[in-house]
C-alpha cells in the first residue's frame, strides 16, 4: 500500500507542478464560472453574502398565546432592527408567494395553538404530547439571509425549550423524590399541568425536542435559483474530465519517458504500479474539485450544502471520473491521443451532463446523459445546494461508485493485456 501511495503522491505533485495543467484544471473552470455567473446575473443578487442588512422577512403569527407574540417581539427587537426588516402578515399563501418571487428572504409561520402546545392552559395532557412546528419557508436565492432568519427562530426555540425543560426537570425531581405527590400536579397552574408521567420519563431519559422547526425551501424556477450553485459544480465536473485525461495520459507519458520501464524493474508488482497511477489520478481529481469547491465558497459565498454530502459526492465523482481516465489510457497509444480523446469526452460529457447548459434531460437524452459522471454529480450537487442532505443523494453516490468500479475493471483488464506491448 505504501508504494501505491508513494506513486499516487508523486503523480499529484507532478501535475500540480505543471503550470499549463493548473491553468486548465483550476483557472479555466473558475473563470468560466465567473463568466457564466456574470452573464446570468448571479453577482447582481442582493443576497451576495456581504454587508447583510434589512433582511425582509414576513411573520405570520396565527398563535393566540404568549409565545407567538414573544417570537414576533424577537423579530421586532431593537437589537435586530438593522439586520431584519420584519413585516407582519396574515395570509400564508401570499407570504409564500413573496418568497417564491424573491421579494423576501423567508416567511416565518407561527401556527395556531403554538403556545398551548408548549404551555397548555386548557388542553389535556394527551394534547400536549403533540409537537408543534414553526414553519420557516426559505428563499433558495437568498440562502444566507434565509439562514439568518432561521437562526433567529432556532435561538428563540432553544430558549423556550431550555425553560420548559428546566421546569420539567425540577418537577420530575420533586415527583420522583416524593416531595410532590403526582396527585397534586393537577393543582399546579399553567406549566405544571403540562407535565405528564410520560414527559417525566422522557425528560429523565433523553433530551426530547418539544418544539419542531419545519425548514422548507421554496420550490423555485430557474430564475429564483442562484445560478452559481449550478455553474460552479457544472464547470468543476466538466474540467474534472480534463484532469483525469491528464492523469491517464501520464501513464503513457511514463512509458515515453522510460520511467515506466524503470518502475517495472523495481521489486514492485504491476498491481502496485497501476494502483499507484490510479490513485494519482484520483488524488488529483479530488484536489481539483476540492479546491474549486473551496474557492467558490470563499469568493462567491456559495453554499454547497450538507458538508458530508459534498465530501462524499466529491469522492465518488472523482472515482467515476478516474475510471474514465483509466479507460482512455487503456485504449490510447500515445499521451497526445489520451488528451485528444479526453478533450472530446470533456466537451461531450459537459454538454450531455448539463455542465454548460441545463439541457432538458428527457427520454433518450436522459439515458445517454446517465453514462456521464457529470449528470449524476451535478444532480447531487444541485440537490445539496438546495438544502437536501446526503440521504437524498444516495442514488447519485451509488451510480457514481458503480460507474467507477465498472470502468476500473475494464481498464485494468486492458492494461494487464498490454503490459509488455505498452513498453514499446
Amino acid at each position: 500500500m505504501k508504494k501505491i501511495l508513494t506513486i499516487g503522491w508523486k503523480d499529484l505533485l507532478l501535475i500540480f507542478r505543471d503550470r499549463g495543467a493548473l491553468i486548465l484544471m483550476l483557472g479555466a473552470p473558475f473563470v468560466l464560472t465567473i463568466g457564466l455567473g456574470l452573464v446570468s446575473g448571479a453577482f447582481s443578487d442582493t443576497d451576495n453574502g456581504t454587508g447583510l442588512a434589512d433582511i425582509p422577512v414576513a411573520i405570520i403569527n396565527q398563535d393566540e398565546g404568549e409565545l407567538g407574540a414573544a417570537l414576533v417581539d424577537v423579530f421586532n427587537a431593537d437589537g435586530l432592527a438593522d439586520l431584519l426588516q420584519p413585516v407582519a402578515m396574515g395570509d400564508v399563501a401570499e407570504a409564500r408567494r413573496m418568497v417564491e418571487d424573491d421579494e423576501i428572504a423567508a416567511a416565518v409561520i407561527i401556527p395556531s395553538g403554538f403556545t398551548d402546545s408548549i404551555i397548555p392552559q386548557n388542553a389535556t395532557s394527551e394534547e400536549t404530547g403533540d409537537v408543534v412546528a414553526i414553519d420557516v419557508y426559505a428563499n433558495p436565492a437568498r440562502p444566507i439571509s434565509a439562514s439568518v432568519v432561521d437562526g433567529v427562530v432556532q435561538d428563540f426555540v432553544n430558549r423556550v425549550e431550555t425553560a420548559v425543560l428546566a421546569v420539567n426537570v425540577s418537577l420530575s425531581q420533586l415527583v420522583t423524590s416524593g416531595t410532590l405527590p403526582m396527585s397534586e400536579l393537577n393543582q399546579l397552574p399553567a406549566i405544571g399541568q403540562a407535565l405528564s408521567a410520560q414527559q417525566i420519563a422522557a425528560v429523565q431519559t433523553d433530551n426530547q425536542q418539544l418544539i419542531e422547526i419545519r425548514q422548507d425551501t421554496a420550490t423555485s424556477d430557474s430564475s429564483d435559483f442562484n445560478p452559481l450553485a449550478y455553474f460552479a459544480p457544472g464547470m468543476a465536473i466538466t474540467f474534472l474530465m480534463y484532469t483525469v485525461s491528464l492523469g491517464g495520459g501520464r501513464i503513457l507519458q511514463e512509458r515515453d519517458d522510460r520511467t515506466l520501464a524503470r518502475l517495472l524493474v523495481t521489486p514492485s508488482s504491476t498491481t502496485q504500479i497501476i494502483g499507484g497511477k490510479v490513485l494519482g489520478i484520483f488524488f488529483t481529481a479530488v484536489a481539483q474539485v476540492g479546491v474549486l469547491v473551496g474557492a467558490s465558497t470563499l469568493f462567491f459565498q456559495l453554499n454547497w450544502g450538507d458538508t458530508l454530502g459534498v465530501i462524499m459526492l466529491i469522492l465518488t465523482v472523482a472515482i467515476a471520473a478516474t475510471g474514465w481516465g483509466m479507460l482512455l489510457a487503456a485504449f490510447a497509444r500515445t499521451p497526445n491521443q489520451v488528451m485528444t480523446y479526453g478533450s472530446a469526452l470533456m466537451l461531450t460529457f459537459g454538454v450531455l451532463g448539463g455542465g454548460f447548459i441545463d439541457l432538458p434531460r428527457e427520454g433518450l437524452l436522459e439515458w445517454i446523459s446517465r453514462i456521464t459522471p457529470n449528470a449524476w454529480a451535478l444532480d447531487g450537487f444541485v440537490a445539496l445546494g438546495q438544502g437536501h442532505t446526503i440521504a437524498d443523494i444516495t442514488t447519485e453516490l451509488l451510480a457514481l461508485l458503480i460507474m467507477g468500479a465498472l470502468l476500473f475493471a475494464i481498464a485494468i483488464t486492458l492494461f494487464r493485456r498490454r503490459t509488455e506491448t505498452i513498453l514499446h
Binding site: 508513494t6 507532478l14 524503470r262 521489486p267 514492485s268
Partner: protein
C-alpha cells in the same frame, strides 16, 4: 572474482519474425566489470531488458544470484540495479525527490534512505544540486543522477546500458571513473557499450555481440589473440574520394587481409604493417588516390570485431 552471479543459457528474444537475440550464453563473475560490446542494434539493450525482468525471453534461461529471471523475478529485481540508456527521471522533481521516490520503490525508507541519498549524491558529485529540479540540469548531470538511482539500494549486480551516450567528454570521464570505483567497492557491473575504448578501459572481460549473437568472449588479451599479430592500417583519403570505391583495390595488395570503409576512412587489416605499407602506398599512387595520413594501430577490440565480422564496430 569467483563464482558467477549471472548465467545465461541460449537466451533468445523474438518480435514476430525478427529475432533480436539469438541464443546468447555467458556468465558474469562476482566483482567483475563485464562489458557487452557491439554496434547499435546488436541486441545489447534487449539482452539487458530480459535480464532485468522487463521483457520475457522467447527462449533459454538466465539466473541471477541463483534466482531464475522468469519464475523468481521479484527476487531478481531486489538484487539488481538498472541504469537505463535513456534518462529515466522525473524532470519536474528535484534530484533529492527523485532519489527518495526511487528509493521507496526499492522498499527503502526513513533515515536509512535519507542517509543513502546523501551518500549517492556525494558519490555522483551532485550534493550541492540536491534540491534543484532535474529539468535545470545539464545532460551530464542528468546522466549522473540516472546512475545514482541505480546505485541507491546497493545492488549486487548493476546493469549499465550505454551510460555515456550523448554527453560531454568531462562527464564521460567522471562516469567511467565512477564505474571503476564501484568495481573497487566490490560491485559487479554488466556494462554495455559500442565504444571500444570504454570496453578496453573498464572491462575485466568482454563479450562481443553482433546481430543478436555473442561472437566472442574473454579478457581483452584473450580476444586480441583471435586476430593474432594482425595490425590495422587506417588510411585517411583526400577530399572527394570515397573509401568504399577502392576497397577491392587494396585487398589485392600483399600482406593485406581485409579492407573496410568508415566515414571516408579505410581500415586495412594486415599481418605486418611495415611489410604491407609500401605495397599500399604504391597501389594508391598507381590509381592517383590521394592519402592524407596513415595510422598504424596495434591489435585491439576494434580489430577483433573487424576480424570477426568484416565490419567496423561503428558501421
Amino acid at each position: 572474482m569467483s563464482e558467477p552471479i549471472l548465467t545465461t543459457k541460449d537466451l533468445r528474444k523474438s518480435y514476430g519474425d525478427l529475432e533480436a537475440v539469438k541464443g546468447v550464453s555467458f556468465s558474469v563473475l562476482r566483482g567483475e566489470i563485464f562489458s557487452l560490446l557491439g554496434p547499435n542494434g546488436a541486441g545489447k539493450t534487449t539482452t539487458i531488458s530480459m535480464l532485468s525482468c522487463l521483457l520475457s525471453p522467447s527462449g533459454g534461461t538466465a539466473e541471477i544470484g541463483g534466482h531464475d529471471i522468469i519464475s523468481n523475478s521479484l527476487d531478481v529485481r531486489k538484487i539488481i540495479g538498472v541504469v537505463p540508456q535513456e534518462i529515466a527521471l522525473y524532470e519536474e522533481l528535484t534530484a533529492r525527490q527523485n532519489l527518495h521516490f526511487w528509493g521507496s520503490m526499492y522498499n527503502m525508507s526513513g533515515k536509512a534512505l535519507k542517509a543513502r541519498i546523501d551518500e549517492v549524491l556525494t558519490q555522483v558529485n551532485l550534493a550541492e544540486r540536491a534540491n534543484d529540479r532535474v529539468s535545470t540540469f545539464s545532460g551530464g548531470m542528468k546522466r549522473r543522477i540516472n546512475i545514482a538511482v541505480g546505485l541507491l539500494h546497493k545492488p549486487q549486480l548493476l546493469f549499465m546500458d550505454e551510460p555515456t551516450v550523448g554527453i560531454d567528454p568531462q562527464s564521460r570521464r567522471r562516469i567511467l571513473d565512477m564505474v571503476k570505483e564501484l568495481r573497487d567497492q566490490g560491485m559487479t557491473v554488466l556494462y554495455t557499450t559500442h565504444y571500444m575504448e570504454e570496453a578496453e578501459e573498464l572491462s575485466d572481460r568482454v563479450g562481443i555481440i553482433d546481430h543478436g549473437k555473442l561472437i566472442a568472449l574473454g579478457t581483452q588479451a584473450e580476444l586480441t589473440k583471435v586476430v593474432g599479430q594482425q595490425e590495422t592500417l587506417r588510411l585517411h583519403l583526400g577530399e572527394g574520394h570515397l573509401a568504399e570505391d577502392h576497397l577491392e583495390l587494396f585487398t589485392a595488395v600483399q600482406g593485406v587481409l581485409s579492407a573496410t570503409a568508415l566515414n571516408g576512412e579505410m581500415a586495412l587489416s594486415v599481418t605486418e604493417a611495415e611489410e604491407a605499407l609500401p605495397g599500399v602506398i604504391s597501389k594508391a599512387n598507381a590509381v592517383a588516390l590521394p592519402i592524407r595520413s596513415i595510422d598504424i594501430e596495434e591489435p585491439n577490440l576494434e580489430a577483433v570485431f573487424l576480424h570477426l565480422t568484416g565490419r567496423a564496430l561503428r558501421d
